[in-house]
Symmetry: C2
Subunit: 265 residues, 2 copies
C-alpha cells in the first residue's frame, strides 16, 4: 500500500481504517497486534509491508516530532493510527483494540482482567526474554555482552521460565478460565494471542529449555493452550502464509546456539 | 486496619472501598497507585500499613491460589481489590482508577493517550532503572552481579536517561500538552503522577546524573513538571508525612555510591 494511502486524511473513528506502524523484517511486538486483527478477520494496513513504510515509521519517532493537537508523540513502535487517534505501547494498543475486535471476553471490567494477563505475558515474560540478549545495554550488540548473556540465560531458564509457565498453568486451572482452553471467561481474548506469541518466540530462543518444560508434564494446560491458538483457522492460515515474518537476530526472539541451554539442577 | 476488615465481603463496586495490596517497607510500584488516591483525595486501604497485611498479600500470590470465579490469580503485587474486581499489573490498575479518580483528562479515547505516556514511564524508564541493579538475574543479589551493574549503569546514564528525558521534554513541548505544565490535555492525569514518581526514584538512584541533566538546561520542562507535581497541595502534604515510605535497597530505586556515576563523554 502506498505511503499516501497509509497517511490518508482521517475518517470518523468507526469507519476509519486500522493502520499499524511497525518495523519490517521482524515479527517483534507488532506481531501481537497483527494476530488480533487476523483472529478477528479485520483488515488493517501495515508499514512493514508498505512501500515507504519505514519512512512513515521514522517520521513518527523522529526527535523532531512533537505530536499534534490531540496526540503526544509516540516513544517507539508499534504505533496504531485509527482515525484521529494515534497511540503507542503494545499493551495499550491491544486494550484499545480488544473490545472493538470482539476479543475482550464479556466486556465491562473484564478488559482489566484480560489486560492483567496480557501485561504479565508482555511486560514480564516477553520482556525478560528480550533482555536475555542484552542484559548490559539495549544499545550494545550481543557480541559485546556475550558472557553476561550466558550467565543470564542460565538463570532465566532455571528460575524464570518455570515461574511464568507455572503461573499461566494456574490461570488455566482456575475457575475464571471456565475449564479452558482459554485463559479467561471461556472465550478467546487478546491475552490468549499474546501468550501464544510469547511462548512461540520463547520456543525459538530456548528450544531445549521449552522442550524440556513441555515433556515434564508440569505445564500441560499451557502447551494445550498454545496448540489451541495455533489451530484457530485464521491463525493457522496466517502462520502458514508469507505474511508471518520469520524470527531473526534483529528482533526480540533470537537464536544463538550457545545460549540454547537446558536448566541445570 | 485488621486483616478481616481488609478482606470484608465485597460491596457493589461503586460504593466498595479501594483496597491496595502491596509490599510494606518500600514505595515500589505501589507508590504510583498511592499517589493517584492522594491527589484525588480518595480514601483507600493499604496492606503495607495494615496489621497482617503481608499475610493477605502472600495469600494472593501463593502458588496454590488459582483465583476465583471472576478473577484469575494475580502474578505479583501491586493488586487492587474493588468490590468483586481483583486486578494486578501497575499500568492496568492505574488505567482502571484514572477515570474513577478524575485523572483521565477529557475521557473517551484520552485514556489510551494517557496510558501510552504512563506505560512509557513505567515499562520503559522505570523498569530500565530497576534492571540496573540486577542485569543478570532478578533473583540474584546485587552483590553477585556488581561488575555487570557498573557496566550497565554507565551505559544507562549516557544513552537511556537522556532518551527518556528528551522524550518527555518533547511531549511537554507538543501541542497536545496545551502549553503544560501537564503532559496531556492541559489537566493533571495519572501519567503526570507516574512520571513524577519515576523521576523521583531515578533521582534517588542516580543523584549525580540527574543533577547533571537538570543543570544542562536541556530538560527544563521535565524538571518544571516534576516541581509542579511535587507542589500539588495533597501531594506535598503526603510527601512530608510518614505515609511516604523511604527508598531502600530492597526496592526498585536503590542507592549504591559506586553506581552513582556521571555520564562519560
Amino acid at each position: 500500500m502506498p505511503v499516501l494511502e497509509i497517511m490518508a486524511a482521517s475518517h470518523p473513528a468507526n469507519e476509519a481504517p486500522y493502520e499499524l506502524i511497525y518495523w519490517h523484517v521482524i515479527p517483534g511486538r507488532g506481531e501481537h497486534i497483527r494476530l488480533c486483527f487476523v483472529e478477528a478477520g479485520v483488515p488493517y494496513s501495515d508499514t512493514a509491508f508498505a512501500e515507504g513504510g519505514m519512512d512513515v515509521l521514522h517520521a513518527y519517532i523522529s526527535e523532531t516530532n512533537t505530536g499534534d493537537e490531540l496526540n503526544p508523540p509516540p516513544f517507539a513502535p508499534p504505533i496504531l493510527k485509527h482515525g484521529d487517534l494515534i497511540i503507542s505501547q503494545t499493551p495499550n494498543i491491544l486494550q484499545y483494540l480488544g473490545p472493538k475486535l470482539g476479543l475482550a471476553a464479556n466486556g465491562g471490567d473484564d478488559i482489566f482482567r484480560v489486560n492483567a494477563l496480557a501485561l504479565t505475558a508482555l511486560d514480564g515474560f516477553s520482556n525478560e526474554v528480550h533482555n536475555c540478549h542484552h542484559p548490559i545495554a539495549i544499545d550494545l550488540y550481543y557480541e559485546d555482552q556475550k558472557e553476561e548473556c550466558l550467565r543470564r540465560v542460565k538463570d532465566w531458564v532455571k528460575n524464570r521460565l518455570p515461574k511464568y509457565l507455572g503461573y499461566f498453568e494456574r490461570v488455566l486451572a482456575g475457575k475464571a478460565s471456565k475449564d479452558g482452553p482459554w485463559l479467561y471467561g471461556g472465550v478467546l481474548t487478546w491475552a490468549d494471542l499474546v501468550l501464544f506469541q510469547t511462548l512461540d518466540g520463547t520456543t525459538h530462543f530456548f528450544r531445549k529449555a521449552v522442550a524440556a518444560a513441555r515433556s515434564s508434564g508440569k505445564y500441560d494446560r499451557v502447551f494445550q493452550h498454545y496448540e489451541a491458538v495455533k489451530a484457530r483457522p485464521r491463525i493457522a492460515e496466517y502462520l502458514a502464509s508469507d505474511r508471518r515474518q520469520k524470527y531473526s537476530n534483529y528482533g526480540i526472539y533470537r537464536y544463538y546456539e550457545e545460549l540454547d541451554v537446558v536448566p541445570e539442577e
